[in-house]
Symmetry: D2
Subunit: 271 residues, 4 copies
């Protein structure tokens, strides 16, 4: 008998793995606020392979309320294995001259989604993410109509991370732009000893079978809180752009390696 | 200056109260499994003012995924104050000859909903409640169509409480019946000293401005787990009836007192 | 058969009750920071039966890490039923000329402790409470010695509530004073309809079989955060006094009613 | 400026990293139950580099309540960054003829501890872990004396995983044996695409500056629950051995790579 599994823990039948093998199907509700931050602070979060975007301070603050499953869909009838929410911060950049995007911070509320994220280059921490939902009946829900108001918050480690509120105005003619180009993240796994990573790859995220609802657009307010473990104030909004809301689904098979990073400490010594 | 508030903690402006004053608006998604349990065990959960229902072992296991708010709707843009899920067990009964229902056990995942429940006669404990959701796009979601499968689970105090799975068949011509008659619960608040309650009222729940989507019906499986703090095996399914899924909204202003219970210990002494 | 239980949910054997009947035994670790706030803001949190204390702005911010159980101790081998942490804010006052104390805000992390608190007049909300612990070995622990540093935090509803840090100096000759006089809280349970409470009693907490370790004293820093549902900035520290750490155990049988409050809304109309 | 950090997320000053660089200091309380399971099922959880132990069905079920910190100890005054609990299952084995141990399953309640575990070859999932604690005063605590009873539970994904209860008898002359030899775990990180891991190393855990209290020994009961995502019933107890309780501290600098695993799928094809 041989141990098997897409991830650890390995087991004779592979079922103990924290993440099942791809493909992974996703359906989710999205709220996005775009804004401009200090371009220098955004550039400081890019690895040396990426250059600043044409709009160098552009940032997207993204809240997502997901249901996901693997190929046989079995997680859908055991929803604790399927549902999670996340908040992530995406910046624009360029790679080899072409527009790309990059997730610089991300929080999620389930372990399988956290580890599946690390495998794809999303540096996920655990957090609590809350988003206003839509219901078809009753008074305790906004409707998809001008003037409807939505909110979202993220907290982690008992610290407030971010808050978004926005007001729908109309269906969007433009769609969110910051996170539209292909995401270029970093897969990072430390070595057994020492600070040089064992895995340190620049990867391009993809996905297929993309499907989305019409996108509502409106005015957004967004803030980061002060007492966070990360320096989020560095990329706080200086100018708010637009807010967006829609639902989105796709399927992911993995990510593509487009480069190997040099180790930052080593790079620093050479600089 | 005077302390004020619908509930404690009282404060000069009343805003610290764990529950804001009614009316409370609710919008929610529901999954219900009806079944028959041992009629004697169901009767044993009724106070002496209530008699067994015409179908004396009928039980409804209900999962609800709620958004709620108070009159000014301010909770809707701060969703941690608005959203909660709950699982509850409703049995049929008769009061003064008329069909009623009664919530015998209930678990919820937020403190404001827990205390608001106690005020209305729902004996809420904290739990974790999970329910399959519907999304408009992507492969990680069931659709409202025959054959679609949904699941729901409840756990509390790190113990598994209940699991429901069901399969949609068609729009329902009958609707769920067990929890349809007016709910007759017990408001119970212990005295400062001793075991006789300070508040021990039989109350009738109501609500107005009810609104619901069409109801899907199908075949359901439901179980209680063994290692629970309550004797849930006593009311385990002996015969499964039907499962239902729909969305529902209404507004609650409070409950009506229809009687005062005698103290159970005192009743027991007299028996 | 008759329904029984100290609290709801009532059941044939009473075991479903969210709180078992008293006596309740408690063992806990305490961290307390005393400070002075604006005396007017402290007075504004007192019911009309209580007058300001001799030191009218004195406040105690108290973190406690508890294990508790009922008479047969059965919770101790199922620790999820026994353990909880809480953070509470106690102010000084006078009742009929004698020094008393009063808990004005409190957060706790378990449902049984929340409801048991409401029964005793503690207006508990759910929160997450963290406190540095002592271990007998290893480097990842402070020791009970001068210079040792401890911290504690409270968050609720994904909002930061409070943070305490303090540094041990020496065994205390004085002990904490604000929460020393008998606590006079309010048992409050709303009516079935309307805003006038069904239970609205001024109660005195007691307890017996008190036992404590020697008390360490030191310098403390304490803050409330800004974005809270309660107006905690009103009672923020203006002058820090001392911090204390010790362990404490006692047994509670209930509380004594010492008066009936008039309804605040009614009082307000008369004012 | 260059991005830095021991782990992702990388940032200009490195502080955003989910795990700070080693050394990591640990102080913890332990409860261990040793038992014998089916030797074939234990062997089925060993990678091909490890052979069964001399006592081939021996298993240790270990609960630990930790405080940990990095070199400057800053986490100790912000306890949410320092404290976590975990439950893990360790089996005996042999590597190159010498006795070793191996962690086959593990659950933990914090993200930093989860990812720090993956770096060291512990396949950590999130869970809720509860353990009876000792307090110096009060009635709500066991004492370190014969007859004292302790309990511990683990749940994950709203499923019950394991329960331990044990009764102290006397100070131990032998100490727990299963987890005593050096732990040989597997560092496993999937590739960007496909099922073959990018990192798949057999590593030996070490640690220095070990310190422990005297070890109490007694009779233990232990069970795994049925409805788990992993096949835990395969390694359920067939014969209980002894239970142990003690506190332990040490410091970890990383782990040593002692071999490269072949990919299990590839091994399977060759078999």
């Amino acid at each position: 008998m041989t141990l098997t599994g897409y991830t650890a823990p390995l087991s004779p039948d592979g079922r103990a793995s924290i993440v099942p093998p791809p493909p992974w199907h996703y359906s989710g509700d999205f709220m996005i606020a775009e804004y401009r931050a200090d371009p220098g602070a955004v550039a400081a979060l890019l690895p040396e392979e990426l250059e600043p975007a044409e709009d160098p301070g552009a940032v997207a603050a993204i809240f997502a309320d997901w249901q996901s499953c693997s190929a046989d869909l079995h997680e859908l009838t055991d929803p604790i294995q399927a549902q999670y929410r996340e908040f992530f911060v995406v910046v624009g950049a360029r790679f080899q001259g072409a527009p790309v995007s990059r997730c610089v911070y991300i929080w999620v509320d389930k372990d399988f989604a956290m580890y599946r994220g690390w495998v794809q280059g999303f540096p996920k921490k655990l957090g609590s993410i809350q988003m206003t939902r839509l219901y078809p009946v009753g008074k305790a829900t906004p409707r998809l109509e001008p003037g409807a108001r939505f909110g979202a918050t993220c907290a982690a480690n008992d610290r407030q991370i971010a808050r978004l509120t926005f007001t729908l105005e109309h269906l969007s003619a433009t769609a969110p732009r910051v996170n539209d180009p292909p995401m270029h993240n970093t897969r990072h796994f430390p070595a057994a000893l020492g600070e040089e990573p064992a895995v340190f790859e620049l990867v391009r995220a993809g996905g297929r079978d993309r499907e989305a609802t019409p996108i509502w657009e409106g005015s957004a307010e967004f803030c980061f809180y002060n007492d966070t473990l990360e320096d989020l104030q560095a990329i706080a909004p200086k100018e708010m752009l637009r807010g967006y809301r829609f639902s989105f689904g796709y399927t992911v098979d993995g990510v593509d390696v487009v480069g190997q990073h040099r180790h930052p400490q080593r790079s620093r010594e050479q600089a």
